[in-house]
């Protein structure tokens, strides 16, 4: 997958929708801006969040950044690989998701940005 396969929110998360489920990651811009990622503070499977809630944090050596839920819903999977190898997201941000969610409000997907609309915000 690459950047063209994703929808975005302006807080730099990408969303890849399959039915009522979606994988969520961070954009290549976000990964590059953070520098070397050393840690993800991940949620638990089963946690539920509203759109816009902080659901995880991504940390470089120097700084911590919150990640925001792009759609309301429940965490159904976390990418366990990121526990020991968080740098995978630096290497390939679009093929290393952070969480998978089951979203609850189809209407919210209409507010997601296309790649062009997202890149226009940078």
């Amino acid at each position: 997958m690459n950047k063209n396969d994703m929808l975005y929110v302006d807080t730099h998360e990408w969303v890849h929708i399959e039915g009522n489920k979606a994988k969520v990651g961070i954009s290549s811009y976000a990964a590059m801006t953070l520098g070397d990622i050393v840690f993800f503070d991940l949620p638990k499977v089963g946690d539920t969040f509203k759109k816009g809630d902080v659901f995880a944090a991504v940390e470089s050596v120097k700084s911590a950044s919150d990640l925001y839920m792009p759609l309301s819903g429940k965490i159904i999977a976390v990418n366990e690989q990121l526990v020991d190898t968080p740098e995978l997201v630096n290497e390939d941000p679009f093929n290393n998701f952070i969480v998978e969610i089951e979203f609850t409000n189809e209407d919210e997907t209409k507010g997601l940005l296309s790649v062009d609309a997202y890149e226009a915000t940078l």
Binding site: G35, D41, A57, E59, V61, V83
Partner: protein, 358 residues
């Protein structure tokens, strides 16, 4: 306040594509490649830092040595060894921490933190009235390169005929290229050297070292390196409301000295501390950042002053200033990270045990 200053090596940092930040009023490289890679480079091999932002203040005159002992916490002796000391205010709070190069009775060099240069000069001028001494700020005239890491001696001995033999030794000389000061010292927990000189010499030395394959290292790795080695940073572990005993710096204070600023303050009591700076290790993988709150049994007992998931240890480690009742090694504390409490153990601040002294 003027604009942000550039060191004499600024163009070289830009040419190397360094990620620059404003640090202490200077454009300084935070990293050139990544903080993690640069950290390992210094721990395992050798690297060089532009630390020209550091300030150089010379105490000059008949009473220079006497004055140094009045304004500094440590007992300064005129020797060929550098000494670590603190400038204190009347309440015993820390105005700055610095390195002392005690050249002679009438000439003492203080190397101070960039962000404190002006404050230190003002403080020294305020207290000098009974002493025959000039306070000279030579910060703009001097540049400093720090060469750090287990191979630093090997590399520098290809350039210099004479180098300081033992840790803390310094050698001062002057020739047609200007003054040259080399000390065997640093801020990384590794063997290393700090080399002070005028602009031209510093630029030439940087180029020679770069051509010899020495990796430039930014201030990001400088901070992770000093932190792993248990060294404090002004503005984090120290400020004007924290005294040396709270900061764990009693080794830099000589209470047997007749008199020095701060000594007679009522708060200046090492046996009656309320807070203490401690090291801690998180018991699960996470990162405790500066300013996060520290708890014991649900009660707030202090705050984190520096924290990292450090490149060498790969553990979540930190320094915190906490209620002295919980400062004993192995005490269980909790750090509030975002919305959860992460358990931690109080431990020795020296997170890496490496014998770097020569």
């Amino acid at each position: 306040m003027g604009s942000i200053k550039r060191t004499t090596l600024y163009d070289k940092h830009v040419a190397l594509n360094a990620h620059l930040i404003d640090f202490g009023g200077f454009h300084m490289p935070l990293y050139y490649t990544t903080i993690t890679d640069e950290h390992h480079q210094v721990r395992n091999d050798v690297g060089m830092f532009d630390v020209s932002h550091m300030g150089q203040i010379v105490l000059q005159g008949k009473d220079a040595h006497k004055f140094a002992n009045y304004v500094l916490s440590a007992n300064i002796q005129v020797t060929d060894k550098i000494q670590y000391a603190l400038l204190l205010n009347d309440d015993g709070g820390i105005i700055d921490d610095l390195m002392v190069y005690p050249f002679s009775e009438n000439q003492i060099l203080l190397v101070v933190n960039a962000s404190n240069i002006e404050k230190d000069v003002n403080h020294l001028n305020l207290y000098k009235k009974d002493y025959q001494v000039d306070v000279r700020n030579l910060s703009d005239a001097f540049n400093c390169l720090a060469i750090q890491g287990p191979r630093s001696f090997e590399i520098l001995s290809t350039i210099f005929d004479t180098l300081p033999k033992h840790s803390s030794d310094y050698i001062f000389s002057t020739d047609e290229r200007g003054p040259l000061l080399i000390s065997r010292s640093g801020y990384t927990g590794e063997d290393g050297f700090e080399i002070y000189a005028h602009a031209q010499f510093t630029q030439t030395l940087w180029d020679k070292l770069y051509q010899a394959g020495v990796t430039p290292i930014g201030l990001g790795a400088r901070d992770t390196l000093r932190f792993e080695a248990g060294m404090p940073l002004y503005g984090q572990e120290m400020d004007e409301t924290i005294n040396p005993f709270e900061a764990g710096l009693s080794f830099a204070v000589d209470l047997n000295k007749h008199d020095f600023i701060g000594k007679t303050s009522s708060q200046f009591n090492k046996d009656n501390l309320l807070r203490k700076s401690v090291g801690f290790e998180l018991l699960e993988k996470n990162i405790a950042r500066t300013g996060y709150e520290v708890y014991k049994d649900g009660v707030k007992i202090g705050y984190v002053t520096t924290g990292y998931l450090t490149p060498t240890t790969k553990k979540g480690l930190g320094f915190a200033l906490i209620d002295v009742k919980y400062a004993k090694l192995e005490t269980k504390i909790a750090i509030k990270i975002r919305n959860k409490f992460v358990q931690a153990l109080v431990r020795n601040k020296r997170f890496i045990q490496k014998n770097n002294k020569v």
